[in-house]
Structures are given as C-alpha cells and as structure tokens.
C-alpha cells in the first residue's frame, strides 16, 4: 500500500499564533502597503477568483467560493463570509515572479557595430497575500530552476529577492487538488513570512520569519485561544483527509518512463487540443522563447522573454521539421517532464498538485487519470498476511449465525477465526472449503470483531451445501485474499456504486465503512438492481441504515409484481437522467460481466474515466493465491492481482471475449 | 469585370473619349460612363462591378449575435455602423431594456467610428485633391506636421474603438442586450488627453479646410437624415428630409425602395414618389439637424461661413465632415466625463418572431437594416441598404452638373475635378463593393 506522506513537521514558531477578526485584514494590507509593497492577492474578476493588486480588503473575495472539476470552474457564493474560502483560480504568483513577457535586452546595430544592453529589472516590491502551500512549493521549484543552478535568470532573481509572503493554510479543497500526493500541502511549512488559517472564528495568524514577526507585532492582535488553535488544526487536517491521496507518487517516475509506447499516449492525444492552457496555468512551467520587437530597419531591437509552450508545433522545430510533430509526442513530453524527468534535472517532480492543469484544460483532461492509466500502480499487496496461504491449508471457522436473504441466497456469520481475518479490507474474498467439495472463492460481505460474514448464492451443488450450513457447523477458510476497493483514493470525493444481484455482497463492507465514518466521503450513491423485488439482498440496510446514513440508494428490478412501485429495468437506467457531475467521482462496480461492461460505458459517458472506475472480476479459482493458474487473464491472476481492478489497469482486456 | 479602362489619347477632336484609371482614394471599385453630345451630358452612369458577397443571404439562419459579427464585415471602414443598425433592430423587436450607460457607450463607440472615418477621409483621401498631391503620403513631404497631426487625431478615434470593442476594425463587444465587456472608468479617462488633442486638431482642421478654394458647383439636392430632438443623430431619431418627409426609421420602406440597374452589382435606392435622387451624409445631417450639434461644432460651422454652401456645393462636404469631426471628439469627451459603468452591461433577452428594422447614421449617411426573424430568433430574410447605394443617384445627378462645369477645362484638370467630386461623397467601397472607373465619352 502506498502511504500518504506524513505532513512535514512545522517549523518552530517564532511567536504563537494570534487571532484577527476578518475585518482585521485591512490593517495588515495597510502595513504591507506602508512598507512600499504592491499587494498581490485574490479578487473576483471575469467569473473567477484571480490574483491582482489589492489596495482594499473590499476587493477580497469575501463570501465567495468555487466549484471545480476537470475542464470546469464556476464561482459560487458561500454560506459564510470567509475571505479565503475559495480554492485556487487560474492565476498564480508566476505572473509576477516570472511574467509572461519581460524585456531582457535591447540591441542596436549601427554602421556595422552592434551593442547589447541587458534590461536591468526594476521589480516592484511585492507582497503576496493568500497564496497556498502548493504555490509556495511552486516558488521553491522556480527558485531551484531559475536561480539554483550555475546560471541565473536575473529578472527572476531580482523579483524574488524581496518578496514577502502572507500565505493561507487550506481549509477548503477542490476535487482537482492533489497537493497531498505531491507532498506540497495543504499545511504551510516553510517559505512564508506570515501564515494565516481561516476558520469560522476568524483568522489565526502566525509569523514564520522576522519580517513576519514585525508585521504581527504591529497588528497588536491577541494570542489565539487553545480552542481557536484546535479548530484551525482540525480544519487543515480535514482538508488533507478530503483530498486523500489521488496520485501514487512513489515509483511514478520509473513507471512513467517505462511506458514511452503506451497506447494511452495516442488516446489522450485524440482528446488533447494541444492548446497549451495547461502549461500556461501551471505555476512551475518555465519554458520561454525570446521574441523580438524591432524597428523597420532591424537596427533597434528589444528582446523579450515570453512564455511559450511545449504544446506549440514550433517549440521543438528546427530546419526540416519538428522533433515532436505529433500531439501524442507533445503530451508525453509535458507529462513525463512534469512527473518524471524534472526530478532528474532538479531533484523534485515539476508538479505541486495544485490541479490548475486539470481545471483549466478546456476539454477536461485529468493529468492524474492519465498518469494512473499510463503508469498504473500494481494494486497494493494486502497489509495483512492471509491465513493458511499455502496449497492444502485451511483455517477452521465456526458458523455462528445463518440468515436467509432470499430464496437462493444465504448469509453465514463465521466466528472463532484467526484475528487476521478481521483485519481484511472491503472487496477481499476468502476460499471456503467444505471437505468433499471443491474450494470456492466467496466474497466477504462484512468484517466483524471476531470473524467475517459470507453471503452465498446457492447456484451449484457446493454453494447449495454451504447455504444449508447451520450454526455450529465448521468450514475451512483461506484468506482474506486479493485486492480491496481503494477507499483511500475515494476519501473526500464522491462515490458511485453500481451493482446487481449477489454483486452487492463484496460492496457491503464499503458501505459499512461509509456508515462508520460518513464525513470521510463526499456524496455516496448506490445503484442496485435485482431480478425481482424478492431477490434484493440486505433489505434492512437498503431501506433503513444506508439511507439514514446519507447514502443515496436507488433500486431497480428486472421483473416486478404489483407490490413494487419502483423502477423496472437495467441498473444503468437509474442514473440516465441523474444530474450529478462525474468529473471527479469514483465508481465501484460489481455484477455480471455484461452488466459491468454496460455500466462502465455509461459511467464513462458521464465523465467517470477509466482510472476512477473500479470493478471486481470473477473467474474460476481453486487456490486463491496465484499458484493454480485457473484465473489467469492476460498478464494478471485475478485472485492475486485482483479481484478489484481499475478499468485503466485492465485496458482493453476488460470485456474482451476469450481471454 | 472584363473591360478595363486604359489611358487613351484623344484621337479626333470632335469625337473624343476621356478615360481616367480606376478612381482612387475612394473605398472600392466601380466605373462611370459619361456621354457628351454637342456639349450636353446625355448620360452619367455609375457602374458597380465589384464581386458581390451576398451578405443578405449569408445571414439567413443565423442568430442575432452572429449577424452583428457578420454584417460588420460589409465594411472595414464603418463596421460599427452595421453593428449598430443591426443591434438596435433586434433589441427593438425583442423589447430588450437597455441600461442608460449601455446607450451612452454605444454613442461613444459611434463617436470613435466617426472620428476614424472622417479623419481618414478628410486627410488621407480628400485633402490631397485640394492641395494637389496624389496622396497624403506624398503630401507629408511638404506638410509633415499636418499629416502627423492628422494621423494622431485619427489614432485617438481608433484607440477609443479599441478600448470599447477590442479592435478598431470589426470590434467584438457589441451584443444584443449591451456589451460583452464594458470599460472601466479609469480606462476611458486615460483616453481623454488624446481626444482633447484630437479636438484641437479637428478645430484647426476645420478652419483650414474652410480656407481652401472650393470649385464652383450648385445643385439643391433633396437631403435625408435621421433627426432627434435632443441629440445629434447616431442611433436614434426619425427619418426626415429637406422637403418634409418625417417618418419612424422602421418605416423606411414606406418612402424608399431599392432597384437593380444593369451594369451595376449594387442595388440603387430611390424614393417611391418619383422625385429620384437624394443625398445622405454630413452635408445632409449638418443642414437638417445642425441645431443639435455640440456647441463647439456649431461654433466652428458658424465661423466657417459654410452653413449655406454645404447644402448646395458638394465639394464643401469636407467642411461638414470637419464640423462633425469636432462634434465627435467633443461629445466623446462629454460622454467620458459623465460615464458610470452600466449596472447591467449585458441584459438578458428572449427571441421573438417578427420584423426587426432600424436605421442609424453611418459616417457617410443613413444605414437601414431590416430582418425577418423567426420564433427561435433566427434570421429568415434580410435587407441591408448602405448609404452609398442611396447616394448613387445623387452622385450621378451631381456628375451631370459637375461635368458641365469642367468640360471646358483641359483634360487632366477636368478629370481630376470629377474624381474630386466623387470623393466628396466619401463613397464606401466596401459597403456597396463598388469599382469606379471614370470614362468620359464625348461624341
């Protein structure tokens, strides 16, 4: 399992955090301006929160928030009056520290003589207000790239020499955020002078440098109470939890660079317009060209350093053509530079996880999905060691309770098991052996304190016998086995579960996890279909527990009598007319393979891409530990590498007949 | 067109043909056929040969906002006029309530276009005739300061257009309901010095052109323009004439019509009452609605002593244009001083089926648009009557008069004088897409 990097330890505070009311921001602005600084901060303009010069607190986006998804940004009104209750907009400090067009030299030519006069920068003294941890990380990257090596961009260095930073720790997050994965946020750790965390109480301000201390002292704010401090800490921690860990960074460089010919490069190039918006909004992209403005004689020339983009056809052009003539080449260049080769050049990835390239891509291409599809992580090994994981070995468990779910489906509670079973994860299964019958893979439909619960449909001789067990009967068990639903990835995000018939069984532990910690997830929707109303499993949960826990449950059946007033038809019809936006949603799907194919297609049409769609596959298994060969599919053993896979991981083997 | 005029020497004194090359320093291409028999002008005909572009068909099935973008392309010199006639026609049909500041900004936009167009015409197209140069560029060799001042003054108008519309030619911000972007007050105030400088240049220019020798000419044309009780007409008013026409602008078709003339790719306009030619443009406006000129413009007109001559001597239109140039700068400055950003820059609207008709005053005269709109707001049928189409008959009538004055002159001088007269109309190349070739056939 890839662990989320722990939040870096904060620097020792030079002074304890102080408390400012929201109205207390104006005196801070005044102090910064009295120091001769232009204050660059957030303001609402042209339908977004952008950075611009701020002279009055009235310009700040008080009460404004935003709604972001791949390719989509909308300003929204918040229900409170927070000043910094928004996520990052399109503009970043780059526009001030590394402007889009800067004159760098003036050259003249007269009677055969040439002169070059570098344009010496006279940068304004700037104070950034409201920038976030990921943006400070981006500045750190630029410091390394533009002035940390043997050659220095003099204009950048001059602009950075005297930059004061009043940063804000994030108490909000957008579905496009992934600073947590890149180790750049949401906590403020270094690089700022003053740190602000805004809570419902107001602003907690803490100095991190002598300059910040001077400011804080001049503000004459009281020391924050322990309760105020606790709330601030909690809100930032909750932001980290909401964001989760959307990009598997460890090993990403090697995995990406191993895939120069992955078919996904060509697929993304069909969507990519190569407009270069991603590189322009990226706070670290630094590629430029020198453009010249000349008089008609070409004798008086001003050279300008101008933002360029590796997506422009001419960027890699030489006489005879471009080295990266195809859009797929240019997309690969960008993604591999950001996430892989940058690390070789400069020691860190070139990405800070701000998510701008995701939101501001006009066609909504999500770098996280592309990276996951091109460089998939092998599903993490189970964190527990399965019990009896050798051929022929089974642990013994005792049936403690039997419950008839439907005419052909029975739930068995097993207890007195090795505690390792209880540490299993949602989506895992067990091999169940009743001497005299072949061992069967059975989904674990619940984990209990001293065992687990199996839900079995009596479809064949062995399963019918299992359904007939009584309390006190013993069975052999090996497990828990296989991969689990990726709850860590889904934390803080929306989840759609689509399932049919017995397929609900391996998903019930997911719903248990949601009920146990509802705050950990965004909206959760369950779409469930069965043959008839009498075939619906887990009626208590479907009709009571789950809806009460804030899970949206929608049911459908193939055939119904007069006692059924709900929808009739295939499960995908349940969300044909739904209004939710799938652009940042994950989906878990389990059911017959034909049903899953239709569902995956329907989800894709609603914007849930292959890297966010997860399925659990069923195959003939005898060992469950990758030794018998029955469940092989392409390069995968379903038992060991699965049964939970992302569609991106399966690629075109998913749904293909005969594999 | 297949027949190209070639410089032809005069072969037989009794049966001479004078030919001038394509008329220059007008906007567009056309030809003129002048037949002289026994010293009498028996035919003066303007042919319009430039390839047609079929705008009235191109807008069919388009949305009103698309139409505003498309009809601008009829003319690179007066695109705003086309956008204004169209946007007002649609807003009138759809019953869109317009913020007063939106209305003020539209007047300001029109000021920008009048400045650009009139300054261009006075200095770059027309003045070289009076001063004896082939072009303003050639004129700059002797009158560099004047030409530089003129270019500076013209730039002030273009900068105003650029701020309001993104670019001076084919601006992008005029939308049904208002503006896709309204300027900030500070942005407008930044233009003030250049406009004030332009105003001073325009005042000097008007004094200067009024001092130029005017060729003799006298004809009492029928004058037509918009008139509004409170303001010099840009976007609002009634259609009035020097002989008593006074109708709502939407009723243009009750008085006027277009017809096709052989040998011309433009449709000519005329009145239904059979009186024939009528004159649009600065001379008509200054005469018919001079009372609403800005006081500074009125003062310049009075001081010029041209108020009467402007009406009867087409060559004197350069003075009328100067007076209107002063008006445009002065009103632009007033509008900027009074500017408050609109509270609703872009009002919402719903399409409605019906006929959208409106006229505004392009720099060179009344521009009438009429659209039949379906219930989705799509155009089913369009009629666009540019000022130059309407002025063609007046140009032909004036040529007969002017020719009588010049036939006695030497060949070169005569032809130059006729060209100068045609330029006095500021005929719009692009509007009617005309190609003027002037030949004088003396049988």
């Amino acid at each position: 399992m890839v662990m989320t990097p722990p939040p870096p330890a904060p620097l020792p505070a030079l002074a304890g955090p102080r408390f400012l009311s929201r109205d207390g921001i104006q005196p801070l602005l005044d102090l910064l301006r009295a120091d001769g600084r232009r204050v660059i901060g957030p303001t609402v303009a042209d339908g977004a929160i952008v950075m611009d010069e701020i002279v009055s607190a009235d310009q700040l986006p008080r009460g404004w928030g935003d709604d972001q998804a791949p390719g989509r940004y909308r300003l929204v009104r918040r229900e409170d009056d927070r000043l910094f209750g928004y996520n990052l907009g399109p503009s970043s400090p780059k526009a001030w520290t590394f402007p889009s067009l800067v004159p760098i030299s003036r050259a003249t030519r007269s009677e055969g003589k040439v002169t070059f006069d570098p344009v010496l920068p006279e940068p304004p003294k700037i104070a950034f207000l409201g920038i976030r941890a990921c943006e400070i990380a981006a500045l750190r990257i630029h410091d390394r790239v533009l002035q940390g090596g043997p050659f220095v961009d003099t204009d950048y260095a001059a602009r950075r020499a005297d930059t004061l930073i009043v940063a804000v720790g994030c108490t909000v997050s957008a579905p496009t955020c992934f600073c947590t994965s890149m180790g750049s946020g949401p906590e403020l750790t270094a690089g700022h002078d003053l740190a602000i965390v805004e809570t419902e109480d107001g602003l907690l301000v803490e100095a991190a440098t002598p300059a910040g201390e001077t400011l804080l002292a001049a503000l004459a704010a009281r020391v924050a109470t322990p309760e105020e401090r606790a709330r601030a800490t909690h809100e930032v921690a909750a932001t980290r939890a909401r964001i989760g860990d959307p990009v598997a960074l460890p090993g990403l460089k090697e995995r990406l660079l191993a895939q120069p010919d992955h078919p996904r490069w060509a697929e993304v190039a069909e969507r990519c317009i190569t407009c270069g918006s991603c590189t322009s909004v990226c706070p670290t992209c630094f590629c430029t060209s020198v453009t010249q403005t000349t008089d008609l004689a070409g004798a008086d020339v001003v050279m300008n350093r101008t933002w360029d983009s590796c997506f422009s056809p001419s960027f890699a052009k030489v006489a005879g053509g471009s080295f990266r003539s195809r859009p797929r080449d240019r997309y690969r260049q960008w993604l591999t530079h950001k996430l892989a080769t940058w690390e070789d050049q400069f020691g860190t990835p070139g990405c800070v996880g701000c998510g701008r390239c995701v939101t501001w891509c006009p066609v909504g291409i999500d770098l996280r999905e592309e990276a996951a599809a091109i460089a998939p992580v092998r599903p993490p090994e189970p964190v527990i060691a399965p019990v009896a994981a050798t051929p022929g070995a089974f642990a013994v468990g005792r049936v403690s309770a039997v419950r008839s779910e439907t005419a052909d489906t029975t739930t068995l509670a097993i207890d007195r098991l090795d505690p390792a079973f209880a540490a299993g994860r949602p989506g895992q299964f067990a091999m169940v052996d009743l001497p005299g019958f072949p061992p069967l893979p059975i989904s674990i439909s619940r984990f209990t304190a001293d065992g687990l619960v199996l839900t079995i449909r009596g479809a064949g001789p062995a399963t019918r016998v299992l359904c007939g067990l009584q309390p006190g009967d013993e069975v052999g068990l090996r497990g828990p086995l296989g991969t689990a639903w990726p709850l860590d990835r889904v934390a803080g995000r929306d989840l759609v579960i689509v399932t049919g018939g017995i397929g609900l069984a391996p998903l019930r532990p997911v719903l248990d996890a949601v009920v146990a910690d509802r705050e950990r997830f965004g909206s959760v929707r369950l779409y469930y279909g069965a043959r008839t109303p009498a075939d619906l499993l887990f009626r208590d949960e479907l009709e009571g527990i789950w809806p009460h826990a804030g899970i949206e449950v929608a049911l459908t059946v193939d055939r119904a009598g007069s006692d059924w007033s709900g929808p009739v038809g295939v499960v995908t019809h349940l969300f044909d007319r739904a209004t939710w936006d799938g652009s940042a949603t994950h989906a878990f799907v389990c059911g017959p393979e034909r049903m899953m194919q239709a569902t995956v297609a329907a989800l894709a049409a609603r914007g849930i891409g292959a890297a966010r769609t997860w399925v659990t596959l069923e195959r003939h298994m005898e060992c469950g530990i990758g030794l018998c060969g029955h469940c092989q599919m392409g390069s995968l053993f379903i038992c060991k590498d699965g049964p939970v896979f992302s569609i991106a991981q399966l690629g075109d083997t998913f749904g293909r007949e005969g594999i | 067109m297949t027949e190209r005029p070639t410089p032809t020497p005069a072969p037989v004194p009794e049966d001479r043909t004078y030919a001038v090359g394509e008329l220059t320093r007008v906007e567009g291409e056309g030809s003129l056929h002048l037949v002289v028999r026994g010293g009498e002008i028996v035919e003066a005909r303007l042919g319009i040969f430039e390839a047609p572009r079929y705008f009235e068909a191109l807008v069919v099935d388009r949305t009103p906002d698309e139409v505003i973008d498309i009809v601008a392309r009829i003319c690179g010199i007066c695109p705003v006029a086309y956008q204004m006639s169209a946007v007002h026609a649609f807003e009138d049909l759809f019953g869109v309530a317009i913020d007063p500041s939106v209305r003020a900004l539209r007047r300001l936009l029109y000021c920008g276009e009048w400045i650009e167009s009139h300054a261009l015409h006075i200095w770059l197209l027309h003045a070289p005739d009076f001063l004896g140069y082939p072009s303003a560029i050639a004129m700059a060799a002797d009158h560099r300061e004047r030409v530089e001042a003129a270019l500076r003054a013209k730039k002030a108008g273009n900068d105003l257009l650029r701020l309001l519309g993104g670019r001076p030619i084919h601006p992008v911000s005029v939308r049904v309901g208002g503006w896709s972007r309204a300027p900030r007050r500070s942005e407008l105030l930044a233009l003030r010095p250049a406009l004030a400088d332009g105003l001073a240049i325009a005042q000097e220019t008007t004094r200067f052109v009024a001092s130029l020798p005017m060729p003799a000419f006298a004809r009492e044309p029928r004058l037509v323009s918009l008139r509004h009780p409170d303001e010099y007409p840009f976007n609002h008013g009634r259609i009035v004439s020097s002989d008593g026409i006074d109708i709502p602008m939407a009723d243009w078709r009750s008085i006027f019509e277009e017809h096709q003339v052989e040998g011309s790719n433009a449709l000519h306009a005329r009145t239904l009452d059979g009186k024939g030619a009528y004159l649009l443009g600065p001379a008509a406006r200054v005469t018919l609605t001079g009372g609403t000129l800005h006081p500074l413009a009125r003062e310049a007109l009075d001081q010029s002593g041209f108020a009467e001559l402007i009406r009867t001597n087409i060559y004197a239109s350069i003075v009328a244009r100067g007076v209107e140039l002063i008006h445009a700068y002065a009103e632009a400055l007033d509008l900027i001083d009074a500017y408050v950003p609109p509270s609703v820059p872009l009002a919402a609207w719903e399409p409605r089926a019906g006929v959208a008709a409106w006229a505004t005053e392009a720099p060179r005269g009344l521009l009438f648009h009429r659209y039949v709109v379906d219930d989705r707001g799509r155009i089913r049928e369009a009629q666009i009557v540019p000022p130059t189409s309407q002025n063609q008959a007046a140009i032909e009538a004036d040529l007969v008069v002017a020719a009588r004055e010049v036939l006695a002159l030497p060949h070169a001088e005569a032809t130059h004088r006729l060209e100068q007269m045609i330029r006095s109309y500021d005929p719009c190349i692009s509007c009617a897409t005309h190609f003027l070739d002037l030949t004088i056939d003396r049988a």
């Binding site: 952008v50 390719g71 989509r72 940004y73 907009g89 526009a95 069909e270 969507r271 990519c272 317009i273 407009c275 270069g276 918006s277 322009s280 008089d295 008609l296 070409g298 101008t306 983009s309 997506f311 422009s312 056809p313 859009p327 501001w360 006009p362 066609v363 | 090359g21 394509e22 220059t24 567009g28 291409e29 040969f49 430039e50 390839a51 047609p52 009235e56 191109l58 807008v59 069919v60 388009r62 973008d69 392309r73 690179g76 010199i77 070289p128 072009s135 560029i137 050639a138 030409v147 530089e148 013209k154 993104g166 670019r167 030619i169 972007r181 096709q260 155009i379 049928e381 190349i429 692009s430």
Partner: protein, 288 residues
Amino acid sequence: MASSAAPARPRVGVVKMASCDGCQLTILDLEERLLDVTERFEILDFPEASSARSAGPFDVLFIEGSISDPHQAERIVELRARTRYLVTIGACATAGGIQALRNWGDHAAFRDAVYARPEWVASLDRSLPVADLVPVDAELRGCPIDPDQLLELLAALATGRRPQLRDESVCQECKRRGAVCVAVAKGVPCLGQVTQGGCGAICPRYGRGCYGCFGPREGANVDGLLRHLTADLGHDPAEAGRLLAGFTAWAQPFRSAIDATGGAPEGSRRSLPMAPEAARRAAQEGAR
C-alpha cells in the same frame, strides 16, 4: 523571400479582391508608424490611399480579399507574374472569407436571393483563397489582420529576415494576458484552442468566445474540440459545427468539420428559393 538582404527600398503594391477593405485600412491605421513605413518602402500602387498608379513590377504585393469573380481570377495570375514576394492579408485572401460560406450552396440561389436580375451579375460560384490560384510567399491571418503582425512582417521584409509569426493557439495569448478562460469559467463555446493566435486573444478578453477569425492553427484538433462540445457538454453537433462556419470556414480542417457535423447554416447550404425580398424587387422591375 530570398535570404539575402532585401533591396534598399522595396517597391510595394496593395490591391484588393472581394473584401471589406479592413485589412488594407490596417496599413493606414499604423498611425504614427505609417510615415516610417512609407519612408522605408516605396508605395508603388495603393489605390485606396493614392492616385499615383503603377502596374508594377512589385517587390512586395499585398493582396486583400478572396477570388470570387472571373476577372479577379485572371487578375491574380497577372499580378503574381509581376510580383517577387506575394503576401495575402486577412481571412478573405487566406481562407476565402465569410463570403466563402456560399461555397456550400447553390451559387445561383445566392445570386437570385439578392438580385432581381441575376443575369446582370458576374461572379464565380465559389469564393477562394488566393493560394488556390497562385503561389503565396507569406500570409497574415485575421479578420482583420493585426497591426503588430503587419509591422513585424514589414520589418522582416525590410531587413530580409524571416518574420516571427508564432504558430501558437489563442489560448496561450489569452493566458499570457491574464484573461480568464471563458470556456472553463463560463461554459462559453470558444474556438481559441484550435485557432491560430496573433490577435492578442481579443474575444476572450472581451468576455466572449473566440470565433476563429485567424483561422485554424497547424494541426488543429477540431475533432477533439467538437467531441468535447457534443459528448461532454451536450451541444447539438450541428450547432457545434456552426461555430466553425464563420470567417475562415473554408480553411481546412474547419471545412471538413462543418461538412461532418452538418454545421453549414441554412443560408449558405440550401438552394434558396427566390427570397421574398428579391422577389419583391423583381416584381418592381417588371412593373416598370
């Protein structure tokens, strides 16, 4: 253009075909820089600006407008023969212009819709870019062209270097100028991604979507944009295709995309019956 230095004072012509004159007006709108240009270039023939005429030969000839009648088709060939370096300026000359929408339709129907006596009107059945008839050495895009690009080209011609006309998207200019993307933030369909920059991203900076007047950029992924507009955002395919049916509609790949989506507006696509307006005019002609 030859890589050697251009002659000291290149002889220049400016002529028009079917157009609105806005691009040649951009030359006169160089304002305070106009006189510098006329000092460095000899203006041989520029009928809109000067009565002094010449038939060439030209070192540089700027062509505005599309080729849309038989005379223009002959004339452009003659002009090419008298020109060393031929530059097309604007959407009409480089792409056929807005009038090229008639290329989708029945030209006779167009003529009949506007003129009561169509037999008096001579025009080609299509409006074509200059490069369809003669070789072109350089082009300036736009409806109208951009004055800074014009100056850059003139400076390049004056010194004999290659002009710096970047092949980037409008999006990059938009972002460099700090404008907020109207497609992402407002859901406004915008052609900036597939359109050649050079205008300075005027439309998005003025709160509306780019309408493609600078024409398709090299390798423009129009299919990708249309797929996004239709499949992801739910626009009707023909309406999405219509976005392309503007001032550079005839340029590829816009043209093919318009065909594929059925995006050509009715006014350019249908064989119009004689429009009521023209019918009325015809009736009036008949009455006289």
